[in-house]
Symmetry: C2
Subunit: 518 residues, 2 copies
């Protein structure tokens, strides 16, 4: 048994049985070992940003990490942006980066680079495996490190000779850290604050919003305290829909977030952080909590945030039951195809138990409202702000949940970063319906150009935000990668095309032609 | 005048008047300033790997750097792989990476990351501009650092408030370092070695092979010394064709390179390094020079390598004239379309003064031979081994040389990393003919799988190298980005399609359907 075999068998014994790959020569022993460990599913991507984004989407849905297989520094570079999103979403990823054989490294061959430096900037744990005797134990530690909590990117750098040299055998899983009980005194002190008259908000994220128990616990606290409850702006995974407690998300635009928080004197944050502006703007605040607002963190290292919320709810004497969203769907829209009617069509049709991978950006502005009363579903967002995540995320989610429909809401500009995900969807027969929101523009930047104070922009500046010369034909692009596609230009046509696409038991794409401005 | 204006005006005054861009919110002041400095041409890419690869191709042809404009750590990550190629090719690049405003950085907003760490792994010079008062001088230094010699990636990190705050004005260009004369004693000592009877090889690269003077100087030395002369495996830019001294390139595969160097007792390296194996393999040598071979470096810091070769040639009493390649072209091929007949068609048609951006990989194996007697042209290669360079490289080359035809030889697997380059070609009307070598496979990895000793690979391993499920339709993909395309399946059809594509005064693509194996 060589190091690659020992590594893959260890991953499987630790529960990691999907590996998204884009290998090269230095990874050939890993690839060759896959046939000996049929429990490990290899899923090929044509670009590393697809690989890492898919690993993120997989873990958000499966609740456990996938592995990646990347080719040296450049492969990690290509996958870096979506690892950044995983880092910000606390998604567990076991990121395996092949490297030159250890004796080859000092020769500074053309593909040599400082992998640890670029890995360190995006990983919570980095290790270069130093020998085939150690690689199995290194892999077990990588899985444990990735799992956290909180989840993180754990990068294992795998020199080629560590793969090809003789190993002892697989390693046992590393034990998970113990769960710590919420501190009763801290919970009671916070309950005392919330019993007061000052305006309070409960801001939750991370594991709290991923399932019903967390949503209920947070809502119990808020209802008992007379506080508002809100979800962080970009949750990794949010359970929502009819029958679940409804929860608004904090707005992306700082001005709107400040309105949402207006007058809040006590902000309780649970598995998230007090909000800051996404970007800085001249003469605008970066810290979004109101002046004088006191921030209370509930939980802490090793504490299950949902258990902490339940303890707080009990301390407040909150009833077990909470207000839940009513079932409702918009009517099928008619007339022009706009961000609003596109959203209504989706709300009209979203299947029960769907997973929505949302990189709709400006074109997706009305989707949350239009789907709030749909049957239960999960919503995955752009956690780190690095565009090019949506389609890989949908790909990984579909690998994790083959029995669920995945809907990918994808802005045109963002789509063009990692469009190769469609090919993996076709190759694996993944049940993903992609909606391309084609407005021919980096529309968000038109908005931001004004917001940063660059008034009266000239034609050159505007041309840098215009992606309509030439127009992108997403149907041709999808068909070029084996995914059937159709284009819609009015609300009725879009609704019908979406219905047909959702009926396909595999990948399909609908291009929604939207106005250039909202 | 704000920092962004001062920066752009400084770049222009330093001769940097093209900026390949993929901006985001933190770069909006830079974008807004473009209208005030019409001498700076902004060229938009839909993905950062296109931006950085285009900057590389531009500089290889223009002989001076372009700027990039990238969006924080993720934008740099996406552009990292092609910056790696630029680093290995010693191409000057002024790499501008936007960042959060300085007071915003400690807040750890979602897009915050350690940009200096990832920039440092690929740049010879990195600086975060600390104030709008300094940014112009920083830009001048960045240009100087990028220019070298040798050329390198110079990364200037540009916080948003440095862009938007008031600046003093543009800075003057920084003076170039002095050129050092070749050391006469060292030249004479080396001449004495070459006058001996032991087998010698002159291995040249970098600036030596970029134009006629260097090729002539190297060939004079070799002919006078009775030595062989050879070009490094992956030169950034090689002048070649009828009327120039012909020069073989050192082979990529270690076994072949060792055959080429068999018995060489003295290796003279000029603006390149003694060769090492691209990858390590079990039980194979990584150092490719024969045992006991003495390596002599000619030149040194600040020395013009062509002047050093000329001094050595004079010391050897070499005549001014050398053997030059005869004009010849292959006949138009007939029959099956293979790597060989594809190469013959290209040799039959390659226009005079063309620039070839070569990422043909296995499918391009016979192209060098088939074009050796074509009219003079320049050849750009994959300097750092990070695939996904060819189409961006061609894009940048075409921006630098609007009056020359650019031919991009692109392997199917590599094409899928940075296919978005086609859109920039369409948008800018660039005169690029792309030939996609579609063999449905990562063919090089099938070869490497055997070479690393992974014998008798199973179906899962082989499936990781097979990109024919589903088949990629490159004509649809090109048309989706506004580039006309046609597919050819036999030699006559390919030759005719290539002739039509070359006649188009703008981008066109020909998909050559090749056998899965050579």
């Amino acid at each position: 048994m060589n190091g690659a075999h020992a590594l893959i068998r260890t991953l499987v014994s630790c529960g990691v049985d999907v590996c998204f790959t884009n290998p090269g020569t230095s990874e050939m022993h890993f690839v060759a070992a896959l046939d000996d460990v049929p429990e490990m599913r290899g899923v090929l991507g044509l670009f590393e940003g697809v690989v890492t984004g898919a690993a993120d989407g997989y873990a958000r849905v499966a609740g456990k990490p996938a592995a990646t297989l990347l080719h040296l520094g450049p492969g990690l570079g290509n996958g870096w942006a979506n690892l950044h999103n995983a880092r910000r979403g606390h998604t567990p990823v076991v990121n395996v980066v092949g490297d030159h054989a250890l004796p080859h490294k000092p020769l500074d061959a053309p593909l040599e680079s400082d992998i640890e430096a670029i890995a360190g900037a995006v990983s919570g744990w980095v290790r270069t495996s130093g020998s085939s005797e150690d690689v199995a134990a290194d892999a077990a530690e990588a899985v444990r490190a990735a799992m956290g909590p909180p989840g993180q990117v754990a990068t294992l750098i795998l020199p080629a000779d560590v793969s090809w040299s003789e190993a002892r055998g697989p390693a046992e899983p590393t034990a998970a850290p113990e769960v710590v009980a919420p501190d009763a005194g801290a919970v009671e002190a916070l309950a005392e604050v919330l019993r007061g008259d000052e305006k309070a908000m409960v801001l939750v994220g991370g594991r709290v919003v991923g399932d019903e128990a967390g949503l209920v616990a947070a809502t119990r606290v808020a209802e008992a305290a007379g506080a508002t409850v809100m979800c962080e702006t970009f949750p990794a995974r949010m359970a929502r829909g009819a029958g679940l407690p409804a929860m608004e998300r904090l707005a992306y635009l700082a001005e709107f977030a400040q309105m949402q928080m207006d007058g809040v004197a006590h902000l309780v944050v649970v598995d998230t952080r007090a909000p800051v502006s996404f970007f800085a703007y001249p003469d605008k605040a970066s810290v979004l909590t109101p002046d004088g607002c006191e921030v209370h963190e509930l939980g802490g290292p090793g504490v299950d945030p949902v258990a902490a919320l339940e303890a707080l709810a009990d301390a407040l004497g909150a009833p077990a039951e909470v207000t839940r969203a009513e079932a409702s769907r918009p009517a099928a829209p008619t007339g022009d195809l706009t961000a609003q009617t596109m959203a209504e069509a989706l709300g009209h049709l979203l299947p029960e138990d769907a997973i929505v991978a949302d990189e709709g950006n400006t074109g997706g502005l009305f989707v949350a409202g239009a789907t709030a009363g749909c049957p239960r579903h999960d919503w995955l967002t752009l956690t780190g702000g690095s565009i090019g995540l949506g389609m890989p995320l949908a790909t990984g989610a579909a690998v994790a949940a083959p029995d669920r429909k995945v809907v990918c809401l994808e802005a045109d500009g963002s789509a063009m970063y990692t469009l190769q995900a469609l090919w993996t969807q076709a190759r694996e027969g993944l049940d993903v319906t992609t909606i391309i929101l084609n407005n021919g523009s980096y529309a968000i930047l038109n908005l931001e150009l004004a917001r940063v104070g660059a008034e009266d922009p000239g034609p050159t500046a505007l041309s840098m935000l215009d992606i309509s010369r030439p127009d992108l034909d997403f149907c041709a692009l999808a068909q070029g990668m084996g995914v059937p596609a159709e284009r819609a230009t009015d609300a009725e046509g879009f609704t019908a095309a979406l219905e047909r696409a959702l009926a396909v038991p595999g990948p399909a794409l609908v291009e929604a032609v939207l106005p250039a401005t909202l």
